[in-house]
Subunit: 342 residues, 3 copies
Amino acid sequence: MKVSEIIDRLGITTFDLATDPEILGVTPIEATEPQMLSYIEGSKFAAQIATTTASALVLPLDASLQQQATDRGIAWIADAQPRKLFAQVIALFYQPFRLSAGIHPTAVIDPSVVLGDAVAIGAHVVIAAGAKIGSGVCIHPNVVIYPDAQIGDRTVLHANCTIHERTEIGPDCVIHSGAVIGAEGFGFVPVPEGWFKMEQSGSVVLEAGVEVGCNSTIDRPALGTTHIRRNTKIDNLVHVGHGCQIGENCILAGQVGLAGAVEVGNRVIMAGQVGIVDHVKIGDNVIASAKAGVHHDIEAGAIVTGIPAIPHKLFVKATAVFNRLPEMYQSLRKIQKQLDNL
Amino acid sequence: MKVSEIIDRLGITTFDLATDPEILGVTPIEATEPQMLSYIEGSKFAAQIATTTASALVLPLDASLQQQATDRGIAWIADAQPRKLFAQVIALFYQPFRLSAGIHPTAVIDPSVVLGDAVAIGAHVVIAAGAKIGSGVCIHPNVVIYPDAQIGDRTVLHANCTIHERTEIGPDCVIHSGAVIGAEGFGFVPVPEGWFKMEQSGSVVLEAGVEVGCNSTIDRPALGTTHIRRNTKIDNLVHVGHGCQIGENCILAGQVGLAGAVEVGNRVIMAGQVGIVDHVKIGDNVIASAKAGVHHDIEAGAIVTGIPAIPHKLFVKATAVFNRLPEMYQSLRKIQKQLDNL
Amino acid sequence: MKVSEIIDRLGITTFDLATDPEILGVTPIEATEPQMLSYIEGSKFAAQIATTTASALVLPLDASLQQQATDRGIAWIADAQPRKLFAQVIALFYQPFRLSAGIHPTAVIDPSVVLGDAVAIGAHVVIAAGAKIGSGVCIHPNVVIYPDAQIGDRTVLHANCTIHERTEIGPDCVIHSGAVIGAEGFGFVPVPEGWFKMEQSGSVVLEAGVEVGCNSTIDRPALGTTHIRRNTKIDNLVHVGHGCQIGENCILAGQVGLAGAVEVGNRVIMAGQVGIVDHVKIGDNVIASAKAGVHHDIEAGAIVTGIPAIPHKLFVKATAVFNRLPEMYQSLRKIQKQLDNL
């Protein structure tokens, strides 16, 4: 594909097309294959323009970087959101593997299942009674769907994942390999003889555009729903407990864990290995740093860090002092001695 | 089902049956469907009696709450353990999906496998030589059982879980989707050239009533057993290392991790993301707070928090001061200056 | 097997063969079956020689322990690396279950797949177009392999694991049950309307001798590779983000998480639940203690602990003071008062 075609297809308005090289693919800036397109994130990486073998670059709206590329005879395209533009270019050259429409003969599908148009169902998939599968859905091999689940149009279920009874997955979702959606919440009532099981009669609802990472688990509650709103993205090995309510456009990074009935606003970001205690409420736009342990409600817009989580700025200051605690302890003893000697 | 029938079936002795409504199901207290039964946990939620649309309530033994319900003409049943009673009521209206007895024709079962009565084996299940499957066992689709495993009566194995060689699972257990029981422990001997594999010839034993959450992993040791005693409940994404010994009626919440050869007493509670270092001994009734990192033996009855874990009360006090470290540091400098100026 | 045969087969040069008992198997030192071989790690366990029922022992090069064993008439073998020797002895008596060579009739293998000699492919395995499977490979039931993956000679894939498109797994690797290798990295570009997906066109490369634990996940990047070098061992429930580069002979213990593009040297050890922030560089021979949170580059040979991770020795000292913070706070107030009263 020529750079001019990329420009046409993406409607790019800022570019240098002095050369119009044929592009074969997209690479990291340090790779050395010829006829490739690559990406410079910002002026920090300016030096790499001098050495790259890329034939074309995605650049930010930075006149100096653009001039450098032009000087080396490298075609470039630029945008105020260069990272998004680069993602768009990748998508021109690469689309992930999808099964072709059709039902593999080894799939076991209950006769009551309602199938949309152009569904692709792989080998050894099992779909139980009452399930509804939307149009354009792609179900990779060895997926198991329990009774009465609903899968929205164009949603992709990767290999070996399990969708439990009554789960409702919206359109354009991706459930990655090994994820388990809608299994029983961890509900046990303490009684003198041990633990009495509370059956989990609720269900899980994922709205449009939700992604759930590999081997992540989202449990259903005793009553009502565990609900994840549209376009929220969940990474691998994340646990969402029974009855959680998660807003739109949130990011839950790898190994995050939410205990039961947590309420999360919109556009919240939880970095890796964050943990949230049950029944906590997290406001819109909160950022929880990696490994934060959240025990109390967090107001909208806060950035929190630490175990237990406190405002990020305070954590940074307190941690700086923590590292000096041994010398502080000595100072304190010395002061006490000085004082006693007065 | 009429409330009077619920009372009969559960042998309830404290109730108001002035009205005897027909109940269609069980809901959260804030839901608004008609003819539902709901639950008030304690006086903190008293205000909700005034507004609920529920036709019947489960209440604690609290005369004031009971009077409020009676005044609104809401039938109620009460018990000293209201949460357990509510769980019992849910179980009258809801039972989780189980396969009907029978063996799906796509299951691959070695001829040497011994099957109990009324087993239910789903599509694409694989059971290797020498396994013994008890009566009433339910094995959901795509489960794999390695050679010589034993599954006790009435145990349920959910979809896509894997039971490794020689594992013994007792009766009335539930292994949730994607869990892996009895895989090789992580045993490597450091040698000058790297790591030398120690084969894991032991096995995993789960006693009666144990539950293992989705995608959790319980490894077998080089020698002997990894042993989990009766009625211990394990949540999702938990890792139990090779050779651990866990007592009865313990709770391991989501993403807890136990390194090898940890010994845990009875009725121990580990909150989410707790980690226990190898060979540590945890006494009966210990509570480890969320994210605690336990590096040393913990005596029976202790409540521990923090990394490394210390007594919970000390942690709370020390943390309160941690948040004031920046001001403490300033105070110390000021004092030093005052002192130097004397 | 007689002890003399063990000595012959392993080429052992230090031993006492006064008796040459027939050994039936290998047990923990405290077990009581007869005709067993067991292991004494060092002088700390000397007392157990007096009481063990083992017929033979693996001992370190410790004359006193050896004399004790001789005095009790217990045959022994000894080595400068006794733990390795014990692992070698276990391997004489025990080898983990492997499928016999052959392809189960229920496996679904695309005609374009290239199969080596003596492959063993279990029931319900699915292998997509373009995959290459080396000689002696063992693929347990219900594994799914996406298009164009390569599996090296003698590698074992356990049940229910998933190998995604273009993944290259070297020879002599073990991928444990439920692991997912090569799925899409978690790549989303923040844009005003939410998150824009960056397709992940790269792949995962595992070199020879790598092990990946149960339900662990190793993601592929947008461009280039996620690369794990030879003999690195990864435990259960570990997350390796897109684009990470991990050296040789590393150990990643249970529930470790690496965000994207982390660079790890050779012989690095990460204890359980360690987390590494994206783009961090970890030098050779680094040890990160359990639960450490690494936010900055770590130089070769360092031992780090804490969140954020600091040198281990400093952490131990600072933590000791942390536990005394409440009393320090009181001291400081008292000193201030004393000073004010001067």
